[in-house]
Symmetry: C2
Amino acid sequence: MNKKLSTDPYKGVRDFYPEEYAIQEYLYNTMAVVAERYGYIRYDSSPLEPAELYKTKTSEEIISEQTYTFEDRGGRSVTLRPEMTPTITRMVAAKRRELPFPLRWYSIPNLFRYERPQRGRLREHRQLNVDIFGIADQTAEEEIITLAYDLLTTLGLQEDQFEIQINDREALIAQLETLVEHSKMRNALQLVDKKSRLSSETFQKEWKKISKKPFSVTTSEKTKKLKEQLVSNGIKNIIDNPELARGFDYYTGTVFEIFDTGSKNNRSLCGGGRYDNLLELFNQDPIPAVGFGMGDVTMRDILETYNLLPEYIPMTKLCICYADKTSMERANKIVAKLRKQSVNVTTADPNKKVADQIKYADKLKIPFVLCIGKQELTAGTYTLKELATGKETQLAEDAIAQFLLGLDK
Amino acid sequence: MNKKLSTDPYKGVRDFYPEEYAIQEYLYNTMAVVAERYGYIRYDSSPLEPAELYKTKTSEEIISEQTYTFEDRGGRSVTLRPEMTPTITRMVAAKRRELPFPLRWYSIPNLFRYERPQRGRLREHRQLNVDIFGIADQTAEEEIITLAYDLLTTLGLQEDQFEIQINDREALIAQLETLVEHSKMRNALQLVDKKSRLSSETFQKEWKKISKKPFSVTTSEKTKKLKEQLVSNGIKNIIDNPELARGFDYYTGTVFEIFDTGSKNNRSLCGGGRYDNLLELFNQDPIPAVGFGMGDVTMRDILETYNLLPEYIPMTKLCICYADKTSMERANKIVAKLRKQSVNVTTADPNKKVADQIKYADKLKIPFVLCIGKQELTAGTYTLKELATGKETQLAEDAIAQFLLGLDK
């Protein structure tokens, strides 16, 4: 016997058993449907990226403490991507001459961070990324924020259950420049970024280490104008927050984050902003860009909080139960035919009692069972039973598929 | 300026630009549809797995030379999964008392191998995995092989374009035991596994290092019976190949692989078999299991060879072009309304000439454009233009969505 292995997954990542996976699929599908409604088209890439990609513009905290970075067998330094923005920028830079602008792309990649697993934070999560390249004016921000809002309401959230905080990072930096020395700017931004998660005393104590002037910032005219436009477009839950900083160094203008207005989920649901200069990573002329990321972990948490996760509905519509093993071969011809007719059919274990076969279907939450034995095969008539209601319908062989597929319409 | 970064992806992995991704999505969707037709339900897990999971039963070549294994910051040894079978076995072992058997599961994970990139082989690929747990008799093999066959024909392959080779690994080992010493069994199996890729001379030379007896094996009764049943079910391209070994140590009975019958793709399209004892990894009683993996790289290669990859059809159905910037705000109200009516709409850059805006739509292969300016807004009538044909249709605002959605039906 081998030394016993644990059946646990690696720390901080998730196994998705089928009913759990169905919820994930619901999230991915809804993300895709809403992004495509706005004309965004899907791309993808590998989670393996050259480590250099993150060296200059991703937040220092993430790079130095939170990435999975290792050397491959050929001596290359590889990182499991902690965020998607450098990847999309790399892909756009590689084909900028062939690509049509404005370029609207989305993806739902898995991202990795080495951190202590806690509510809203795991070592791997899936994140919707939506980005638009090639629009320098505010219409890009409007579109991107409207799409995020539309997705959250499509998932069932009410306007009063979340709020969209917006700010202008450039304006924040300009104001901080009047308060702190240049050498302390990075520390100041990091502290302001954390401010909402700190007590007032802790923040003041830390701020005094950076500056003698009192901390005070106000909303820029640009942010006020964006807010006004979004409100006039019908999005009422927009808050201008002059302290909003976002952790990434690449943002050059508008930044925004979306929060649960309740108290159970304090992690941001979504964060994004404008990053007009990121193509300089590749020594290229800038292309204006705005985008956001929305992660599945915090999303599931908030949907669960407000009881908005969907009920499990199996894709399998019918379970065949065998009344006797001798009829199995003929019964399986019916199964094959139903599948050709586009019915999703599973079969119970013919070695078990019929009652246990029906229990199996019930455990899988399959809506219908059909028992086949000598009697049914001789008569050519089958009894389709709906498990939830016990209702039975007598059907000829050729009518089964039509009956079941008709229910989906 | 920063040192210039390369825009290339990491070696041996792929960037999927939208038109490439659409082909991937077609493959994933077809895999899902066919698996669900047979009652298989989807699960998922993380690519990060504890390295111990692969130490005993995965092939030695893969473990010692081909995995991505590294230490995390907490000193845990982590492997990027090179195959899915150990993962599904771990998940089944973790919840065996709650799970319904026969258990039919599928997944489309990404798998990682550190190897020299070449045709049919990359460092990351996506692979359909289909597994059934809890059926000890041959009906499990029949179902699994029929599903694989059904998937390939659904993707458009003709029966004469691929062949399904089957064998019984147990019978092969029993025969090899009469030819080689026990200590050389592993070498013998590895050599036989590679036989079809070696010249006859090379094989004979290597074989002589292992045994003085001539190499000769025959098909078992079990394999003949399985073949007969599959042929009688209508699958004609079944070949019994007594030399088929498969690289994994965990197979306990039937093994099978599917090959292109042409000469362009020599990598197997699909491989699988029975692994009844793998739960012993977790010190648990066995559960009979049969499964296969079918990778996207070889699949794309063969579909491309036979010209079976689908044409790109964008999800975006309409591009709005702006005749003048002053009408933009009113035009965008129409855009918002169309999206609420479930039309996928994108917008061109209003700063460009109308002709260039239409070119943009054409480059994205979007089927329809609608130009909006003062004239259209005043008249309340819009000209929907189909780019492929040049055909124009005059529509009132409220009729646009209905017209476009009607085309999908």
